[in-house]
Amino acid sequence: MTVHSVSLVIAGSGGAGVVTAGSLLLEAAANAGWYAMMSRSSGPQIRGGEAAAMLRFATEPVMSHDDSFNLLMAIDWENIGRFSAEIPMVADSLIVGDPAHGDAPAALLNGKPRQAALAMTDIAGRIENGRPNMVALGAIAALIGLPPEAMQAVVEKNLKRKGQAAIAASMAAFHAGVEAAADLPPIPRLPAISAAAAPRWSITGNEAAGLGVIRGGVRFVAAYPITPATEVLEWLAPSLAKVGGTLVQAEDELASINQIIGASYGGVPAMTATSGPGLSLMIESLGLAVAAEVPLVVVNVMRVGPSTGIATKSEQSDLNIAVYGLHGDAPHIVVAANSVADCLFTSQWAVHLAEAMQVPTIVLTDQAMGQSRAIIPRPAELAFIGQRETAKQAVEGERYKRYAVTASGVSPMAIPGTPGLTHTADGLEHNEFGTPSSQASDHLAQMDKRSRKLSQFNYGDHWADIEDFGSGADDAPQEVPLGDTAIITWGSSTGPAREALQRFSDAGGKARLISIRLIAPVQPERMAAALKGIRRAVIVEQSHSGQFYRMLRAFYDLPAETVSLHQGGPLAFGPARILEQLNQWSA
C-alpha cells in the first residue's frame, strides 16, 4: 500500500537519542526525494528526560501533521505515556516497543493500535558500538519504504568526523534493524522519488524567520532569550556577523525593544524576536515607535498563555495583544506566517512593510512552526528589501518637517548625520516639525496621517493566501469561488485547514481557503472580494476564546452562516475535525 504521507513518532527517555534519530531520518527522507516535517515534544526536565520526535513524510511538501500516527517506535517507555494526547494512535496504527523495556503504557492504547516487538537493545548489543536508535531507524526505513542508500549518505555525512568505524557500526545497526523489520506488521509505505527532484532546503520556522529579516535588510538585532523564540536569535547572532550586521544581548525586553528603536532611528533596519511575556514588556515602547514613526520588526513566536503558561508548547493566542495591545490609538502592522516556509516570506515582507511605512511591525509565528524542521522546496528570491523614504537635502529657508502631513501619510525621514535636517523625534504628540503639541488639531492631523499611511499602502495579493479546492480548481483563485464554502484561518492552523480541504475536494467537494497573512491593518475590500459568492464560512484557530473569530467579526462582514472552530493549545487542530464541519454542511 503506497500513500501520500506516512506519520511516525520516535520516543524515548534521556540519552535515547530520539531527536538525533529523528533528524537523521528527516535528512534521509530528503535524500530519498521526499518532503518531511519534524516537531518535537519533551518532558518538563531542563535536560534529558523523555522526548518524542514526530515526523511526517510525504511526496509533496508537508503542511501539517496528520490526525493520527501510523507508527510509534519507542526506544523505551519511561514517561512516554505523558505524550499520549499529542500522538494519537488509532486501530490502524502500529506501536513498536523493545521487550527489554516492558509493556506500552495504557495511556497510549486507548485507540487500540496494533502492537509489535523489536528487540532493539538486544540487536544493538550484538553489534560492536551498535546503538538501539540506529536499529530503530533501520526498522522504520524498512517499514516506510525509505531506501537504505538515503540513510547511508546521511550517516556518512554526520559521522564523518567520528571516522569510518563509527559509520560502519551505525550502518550495521541500521541494517540489522532493516532485517528485523521483516517480522513486523506492515504500515503504509511511501514510493521512492528520483533524487533529481527539485532543489530542497531543510529549515526550521525560527531559522526561516531569521533569514527572512536578514534578506529584508535587517542589520541590527537586540536579543533577550525566551522560549520558543531563542533560536531565531541564536541563528541570527553568527549569521548577522557574516553579512556585516550585529546582535547585542540586552538586559531585558524593555532594553531590547528600545535598542532597536535607537538603531532604527539611526537608519539601520532593526528587529528583535520574543514570545508572549516578552512582547508584553515591549508594549509601551511599541507605542513609542508608532508615535515617533520608527520602523522595526518584532517576531513573536507564540506559546501557550496566559502568563508564563507553557513555554514549550504552541497556541495562537497572542493575536489580541499583537493587534490591540498598545495603549491609545496606535496604528501598526501585524503579519502572520502560515507555515515553516512562510516564516521566511512573511518576515522578509515585514521588514519591507515596516521600512516603507516607518511603523513597527509584529510578525506572529508560533512554537509549532518555529521549532519544527521541514524539508521544503527551495524558496523563491523575493524583491522585498526594506527601503525607507529618507530626506537627504535641506531645502533653503525651510525648516525640516519630520512629521510632514503628506498624501501618502509617509514623511521622509532624516537620518542622523544628514546636515541641515536635525530634528527631535518624539513620542509626545507633536506638530509636523516634531514639536510637542497638545492641540486637538495637531493630534488629529498626526493620527490621520499615521493611520492613512497604513490604509493607503498597496499590500498586493500578499494580504492572504486564497486557494480554491475542488475539481476545476486552478492555481490562481477564481473570481467566483468554486463552492459556496470557505475556511478562514491564519498561521499554524492553515496547514490542517489545507489538508482538510484537500480531503474534501478528493471526495468531490469544492471550497475556498482564505489564510490571512496581513492581520492588521484589515483589508475589508479585499476580503469582500474573496468572500463574494461564499455563503458559509468556518473560522479555524488555536485559541481558547476565539480571538481570531472575534477580530474578523469586528472588522469584516462575514457570511451569514459562520462557524467558529477554536480550541486552546497545545494540541493542534487535526484536519479531520475541520473536515467534519465541511462534511456536515455538504451532507
Binding site: 532543489p199 537586540a222 556585516g244 538586559e251 535598542q259 528603536i261 539611526g266 515602547s285
Partner: protein, 278 residues
C-alpha cells in the same frame, strides 16, 4: 573658553523652542553647558544625537539643534545604546532626570555602566519628580515631607548614583553643579572625550517643588582631591562624601568601550542560504 573665533558658537546648538521649564530651573544652565561643550568640541550638529526619556530634564533634546530622540520614561539609555552601536561615528549624549534614570530606568543604568558603550549620560538630579509635580525620587532624602504621596517622608535611604555607577562599571564619573555652567561645560567636554560610558551627575535645583534647593548654590564646594583610576579607592571616597563635592572628575577608568565586532567578511546572504540547501 578661548577668545579666538570658534567654528561653532554655543547658540548654534540651540533650537528656537522656548523651554517649558519654570523660571530659575537648574536645567536652563545644563542646556547652556551642553551647547557650550559641543561648541568647544566643534562637533557638526548633525553628527551629534541627544537622547532622553520623560521628565522636565528629559526635554533637553528639542531645545538643541542636534539630532534628538525623546522617548518614553526610563528608556533613554537603551535607545542611545542601539543608536551608538548602529552608528558608531555619532557622538551620543543622554540627558534626563533622577526619576527617569534611577527609578524606572535603574536597570538600564546598571547595564549601561557595565556595557560601557561610548556615550555621555548627563543626569539632572533635583531629588524630585518635577514633571509630575513633586514626588520623591530615589535621590530624595528619607525625611522630605513635601510630597503628597509620601507625606511622612519616604523613610528610604537615598540612592547614590555615583557609587552605584562605579560599582556597575561606569568608566568616567563626575559631579557638577548647575550653579557653575562654565565648569560644567568643561567637564562635559571631558566626559564626551573620554571613551566608554561617562556619567555626569548635575545638581540641578527644582525651584518649584524643592525651593529649598536654592541653597545648593552655597553648599556645594569644589572637590579637593583629583580623580582616581582606582575603582575601590573611588568607591570609598564616594561612599563617604556628602554629595556636595562638585566640579571635578571623580573617577576615570581605562576599560575599552564595548563595540561589537562588525566582522564584515565577504559573507553574503546567498552563503547563509546555502547552509539550508540539501
Amino acid at each position: 573658553m578661548e577668545a579666538v573665533a570658534q567654528k561653532y558658537k554655543a547658540k548654534d546648538y540651540k533650537s528656537e523652542l522656548k523651554p517649558i521649564w519654570c523660571p530659575g530651573c537648574g536645567d536652563y544652565t545644563v542646556l547652556n553647558a551642553i551647547t557650550r561643550a559641543l561648541a568647544e568640541l566643534a562637533l557638526p550638529p548633525e553628527e551629534v544625537a541627544v537622547v532622553s526619556g520623560i521628565g522636565c530634564s528629559s526635554r533637553i533634546p528639542a531645545y538643541t539643534s542636534v539630532y534628538g530622540f525623546h522617548g518614553v520614561h526610563g528608556r533613554a539609555l537603551p535607545v542611545a545604546t542601539g543608536l551608538k552601536l548602529a552608528r558608531p561615528e555619532l557622538t551620543v549624549l543622554v540627558t534626563g532626570g533622577d526619576g527617569d534614570g534611577f527609578s524606572i530606568g535603574g536597570n538600564h543604568f546598571l547595564h549601561a555602566c557595565r556595557r560601557n558603550v561610548d556615550m555621555t549620560y548627563i543626569v539632572m538630579d533635583n531629588q524630585v519628580y518635577g514633571m509630575t509635580k513633586g514626588q520623591a525620587s530615589p535621590t530624595t532624602s528619607p525625611d522630605w515631607e513635601g510630597s503628597k504621596l509620601t507625606p511622612e517622608g519616604t523613610g528610604i535611604n537615598p540612592f547614590q548614583p555615583l557609587v552605584v555607577g562605579l560599582a556597575s562599571g561606569a568608566n568616567f564619573i563626575a559631579r557638577v553643579s548647575s550653579s557653575d555652567p562654565v565648569n560644567m561645560a568643561q567637564i562635559i567636554v571631558e566626559a564626551i572625550r573620554h571613551p566608554g560610558f561617562s556619567l555626569v551627575q548635575v545638581l540641578s535645583p527644582c525651584v518649584t517643588f524643592r525651593p529649598e534647593q536654592a541653597e545648593w548654590r552655597d553648599i556645594v564646594r569644589t572637590a579637593v582631591v583629583d580623580y582616581t583610576g582606582d575603582a575601590a579607592r573611588a568607591a570609598r571616597r564616594l561612599m563617604t562624601d556628602d554629595g556636595f563635592n562638585v566640579g571635578k572628575v571623580l573617577f576615570k577608568g581605562e576599560r575599552p568601550p564595548f563595540r561589537p565586532e562588525f566582522e564584515v567578511t565577504d559573507g553574503s546572504v546567498a552563503q547563509l542560504e546555502a547552509r539550508f540547501s540539501l
